[in-house]
Structure formats: C-alpha cells, structure tokens
Symmetry: C2
Subunit: 389 residues, 2 copies
C-alpha cells in the first residue's frame, strides 16, 4: 500500500486468481501490474489487436511500449512477481476454454472489446469486425464462466456511450420508470447478454460503464520505462483530453469538434485502476448483475480545452483553440447529468483534474514528442458520407 493511497484494499490474505482480458492495452496492462503488485495471481490474455490496428493505419502510441513478453519480464525483474500470458483471440473458443481451464480465475476483468467508435464507423468491414468481435468474444467469456468458473466475478469494462445523451439524468444501469400509473425498475440503456446470463445462469457480473480515461502515469508504469502503457492521440483511438495535452505540447491548436458542448464523464487512469480493484474486492451475489458508472467528473469539450489552455499558460505555453467541422453525427449541445455514487460508496477517492495533473501529462508527452505522427491527429473519416448522386 503506498502512502498516497491509504484506502482499504482487499482483506489481508485474500489473494485471488485474476484473469485480465485485453491485458496488453492502455488500461489492461496497468491493471495487470496493479493486481500483481497487490499480491494476486494475474494472468493476461491479448491478441495485440490494438497494435495491429495501429500498424494498419500507420499510427502508433506516443509512448514507446514494449511487447507483452518484455513487459512481463521487466515486471518480474523489478518486483520478483510473475504475470502469466496467453497470446490469443477471445473469438476463438479453444483459447478461452484453455485459459479458463488451466487458470481457474476467481475474477475476470474484461477489457477485451474493441472500444473505438471511430474505428467501427470507418467502413462496413470495420463495423462488422467490431460488432462480431465484441459480441462473440464476450459471449465466449460468459459461457466459459458458466461452465468452467461459475463462481468467478466478471468485471466488464464498457462505455458510458451506451446511454447516449438523454435529456434526463443518467442512472447506473437501471431506471425507475413510472408510466400510466404503474412502476418498474428497468435496465437502461438495455437488457443484454451480461444481464441475461446473470438472470438465467446465476452468474455474477459488474458492468463498469466507463467515462473517458485520461492520463499516462500509474504507480507501476512509473517504475521503469519498460512498463509504460500506451498513449493514443490519433484520430481513431485518441480521446479528447489526451489529444489536447499532446497538441498543446507540440504547439498545435486544440481541435474542438463543432460547438464543443459535447459533455461526458471523465476519469484519471489511476482512478480506473482503483475502480476495477474496488469492483473485484466487493463482488456481487451469484445471479446479481450490477452497473457502476465509472467516472469522477463531467466536462464539455470546450471546458477541457480551456483547462489545457490555462495549464499551458502557467508554464508559458501559448495554446490556441481551433474548432473544426465535426466528423461525427452527434449533438453538440445537450443536457448531461450522470449518476456516479456507487463507486464512491465503495470507497473511491477521486484524483480530480487540475492544472498540476495536466502539467505532469505535459512533461511525459514532452519526453516522447519526437515520436508524434502529426498526419494522424486530425479526423479522416466522416460518419455520414456524402451521398454519391
């Protein structure tokens, strides 16, 4: 337990076998190290899909990241701890079955879906690939838990994007609906495979509807450059705050899409790890499906740009903001207010976004700024194509 993180952890001695799906990723790799640091037995599965997608697009992580075997070797060298690795695809049942059979997890942290909307919106092939990859992979995971590890707790990372931007407050996965004099507590946005598997098969699952994650540094990645996690800033995998910080450092104007009123939940990468840890530490009952909204603060895109501008000004950077034509089809001004009390109730103490944190992101980006591929910062694909008529 570090001095900066005096929150309660898993009860002393309750060590678990934790499987991390997508454990080579931006969050998967730091999560793997975190649980390993806490003394749990950790095994990761990944097929390097993100690395492959970058290769295809000619883009790359800002941070130079090692391949998984090297990461694990560096972790072993520095800490004496072992992280198991399976290179494999969750859509291949043989891979999933073999891992569950041999590892026998108590908890499964599932980052193994393709998360990027711009990726799936590129064209038909990308959309079909993304949806079949995500649906089949997650279905395999549900069957594997049902048949090979029925008491394991599934912690699935999803996106708050599923809620859309309704004109009402967003609750955590369910909403009390009163209608024509009757009431029910209904899944919102939807009933899906995870919920159904809990109800019908008696599995236990936590669905973490995540906001946009920012930041580069976790306690573990800071130990050694070989443990760095990726930092995407490109048009497909990059997200708002990370991209703005990078643009500020390389002296580009911050590119706000359209009016910039798009408001979303955000959280620090350290808080993501903590949320996942809390979800694992406090599992639901068998048959229970629960949803936590995983974010700590809401910002509009314009607010983020202003924060980055201000943090830049403090260290003498002159940061410009430049609105560009929005490549997405989305509301640029809308109501947004989402609940996020359940993780706070479990003990999350947020690291809030401020100029200091942005300043420390600037420093890390500065170290690697000669790796920036400038051609791939601005969006290339439009969600609504111009009709060829």
């Amino acid at each position: 337990m570090s001095p900066e993180d005096p929150e309660p952890n898993l009860p002393e001695g309750s060590f678990m076998r934790i499987l991390i799906l997508g454990g080579d990723g931006y969050l998967g790799w730091p999560t793997a190290m975190r649980f390993s640091a806490r003394g749990h037995e950790v095994h990761v599965v990944d097929n390097e899909l993100r690395r492959y997608a970058h290769e295809q697009a000619g883009t790359d992580s800002l941070t130079p990241i090692r391949r998984l075997p090297e990461r694990v070797a560096a972790w072993r060298e520095l800490t004496g701890k072992e992280i198991g690795v399976t290179w494999g695809d969750l859509t291949d049942w043989d891979v999933v079955e073999a891992v569950f059979d041999s590892f026998g997890p108590n908890a499964v942290v599932h980052y193994g879906e393709m998360p990027s909307a711009p990726y799936s919106m590129k064209d038909r092939e990308h959309a079909v690939f993304t949806q079949s990859n995500n649906v089949i992979g997650t279905l395999h995971v549900l069957y594997a838990i049902r048949d090979l590890a029925p008491d394991a707790h599934l912690v699935k990372l999803g996106t708050m994007g599923e809620y859309g931007t309704p004109n009402i407050d967003i609750e955590e996965g369910f909403i009390e609906v009163r209608h024509n004099g009757r009431a029910d507590y209904l899944p919102f946005p939807k009933l899906h495979n995870l919920h159904f598997a809990c109800r019908v098969w008696g599995l236990r699952a936590t669905d973490l509807h995540q906001g946009v994650v920012y930041g580069i540094r976790t306690e573990e990645t800071a130990l050694d450059d070989r443990l760095l996690t990726r930092f995407d800033y490109d048009d497909v995998f990059g997200t708002a705050l990370n991209r703005f910080c990078l643009q500020a450092v390389i002296g580009h104007p911050l590119t706000v899409y359209g009016a910039g009123g798009q408001t979303r939940g955000y959280l620090n990468i350290e808080d993501t790890l903590r949320c996942v840890e809390l979800a694992v530490a406090y599992p639901p009952q068998a048959g229970e499906y629960r949803v936590f909204n995983q974010f700590t603060q809401q910002f509009s895109v314009v607010q983020l740009a202003e924060l980055v501008q201000k943090a830049g000004a403090e260290i003498g950077m002159d940061v410009a903001v430049h609105p560009i034509d929005n490549p997405r089809v989305e509301a640029e001004q809308h109501y947004y207010n989402a609940a996020h009390t359940k993780l706070l109730d479990l003990g999350l103490r947020p690291h809030l976004l401020d100029e200091t944190l942005i300043g420390s992101m600037f420093s890390t980006i500065e170290r690697f700024k000669d790796r920036v591929i400038v051609d791939h910062i601005l969006p290339k694909d439009r969600w609504r194509p111009i009709r060829p008529r």
Copy 2:
C-alpha cells in the same frame, strides 16, 4: 383484392420492387406471394437455414413444403407471375451487394434473422452462431441500403420478446420518461444498429416488433398445396398456439410450461402479411426510425390452452391440459400490457382468434397428421443447466 379483404392497398399503379430477406420461411414465403399477387416485383433471398436446422435436429414442418424453386415455379404456373430467387447468406457481403445492385429495391422486408430463443439457448455454438448471424446479416443489410439503395424502406421483423415482461405498459419502441423533474422520449428497449443507421445515415426503417404468429392458411397458400408454408410444432421452432392445435388433433395433452401465466401478444398469419403490407405502403421519412408493435390480442398460455380445449369440445374432441416443468427461465405470472395502435391507425382490421379459426387449423393439421414426429414435441434443452459439481 379479395372480397374478404376490402382494405385499401397501395395506390393504384404504384408498383414497387420489394426484396424479401428470408423469403423461404413461414412468413417470408407467404409475404412474397402476397406482394407478387398485388402486382409488385418481388425478389427473395434465403439460405435455407431453417430447413438445415430442422435436418440437423431430426425435426420437420408438419406441412410438406416444396423447395423454393418449385414454389416459385408453381406460383408462376398458377398466376403467370414471376418471383426472383437468390440462394445466399446475408452474412456474405458479396451476396448482399449483388442482390441490391441488380434488383434495386424500393422496399426491403427483412425476415432473415434466426428468431428462435430455444435454438440460440441450446448451447454455446448455437448462441454464437445466432448472434453473429443476426448481427452481421442485419449490419450488411444496413450498409447495402446506405450505399446501394439509400431511399429504400427497410421493414424489419423482430420480436416483442425484446421488451421482456416489464411491470409497466409496453409502448411502441419509445417511452416518455420523467425523471428528477426532467423528461425525454427514449428508445425502449434499446438504441440499436437500425435506429443508429437512421439517425446517422438518414435511412428510413420500420421495426416491426412482432407477437407470436399462429395459423397456416393465407389467401395464396390456399391456392395449391405446392404453395403451402411451413408449420413448425417442434420443441425449438414451434410456438404455443400452433403446437397446442397439433397436440389436440393427435390426442396429446396440451403441454403448458409451468404455471402458464406467461402472457404475450398474438396475431394471425394473415394479419402479419397485412401489417407488413401496410408498413410498406406507408413508409417513414428519410432519417425516421419507427417501431410498430405487431400483434392483435394478448393471451396467457393457459387462456390459449382453454380456447383450444373449447374449440375441440365443439367438434367432440376430448382435449386434456398437462402442465410440465418449464424449461425456460422466465416469469410465469407477470403484468403484461402492450400498446398496438399504430398499425390499427394505418387501417389494420384484425382477424381475431376464435373457435372457428382454431377449427380450421384443426382441419389442416388433420390432413397432415401422419407426418407428425412425436418425439420432438416436448422440450429437450433447459436454459439453466444443472451445475456439474
């Protein structure tokens, strides 16, 4: 226009090119004949998935149905009208692209998903197959419309099962939610690919959330035995009322699952055809996604069993009702009240269920009762497996 069906049809002379996906099926084939009879140009696509699934399971339609080329030849011989046929799989983009390119539909009636919950609940392979088949096939259809027939109206047949059995009235696709002093009109049960494609790409789509269809006879299938449609009564594809009628005819007790309070919307096969016709005749605007709940009456399983019993008694049949252990995981007593005014507003005049209609189903079943495969009427698969511990 037949004397029993004096409702308004498509305006005189407004003939359309109508593509029927899944046009070899229980509803697809009668729909193809109906539009052809009305003078439209009809093309069907099917990969005989239902026939294959029956073959694998050792089950079959009660009615002896011809293969699609023979059906189409018989239709041509009897009416002088041509129905085009493509044997192909919607998950194969080349098939979809070629059909849209060459046929250039004005309307696409999409029955081409695997509908059976018991089928997808059989095991992992069936679940993965069903979900990837349905997701990918429908995604291909959306892209084909976007890129090859952007003004075509998509009429997609889905299931009211998506709503579940909430304790509130079920509305048609959207619900007004008031929450914490604010209100929005939200998609319920969910925002999905169809809705998204209308919003983002400006497509036009009608999502028909269908109740359970019963009946064998349509105006066109009655013309000749070579035009018969299938009648499934087995444990996987059979549905409640059709199976009860068959059990009555062969002198088996009607098998009610559990308490039998499961209430759903039902409609006659003739009304299904009429609903689809109305949806096609009155298309939505570009960019509009609309949902119609397609059923005419609500019944509990016990009510259906009693109706069949009563209809049997009228012709001297002694029909027993026998509750069996429910193989599904579902509420057996629940509130159920679903809206279904939109199709009535367009002019639907329902054929309501009565003893006469059941009596005429009895007669058709009687003609083919030596084809019944008795071993495959009762359920074989349980949704919640017994844990091997």
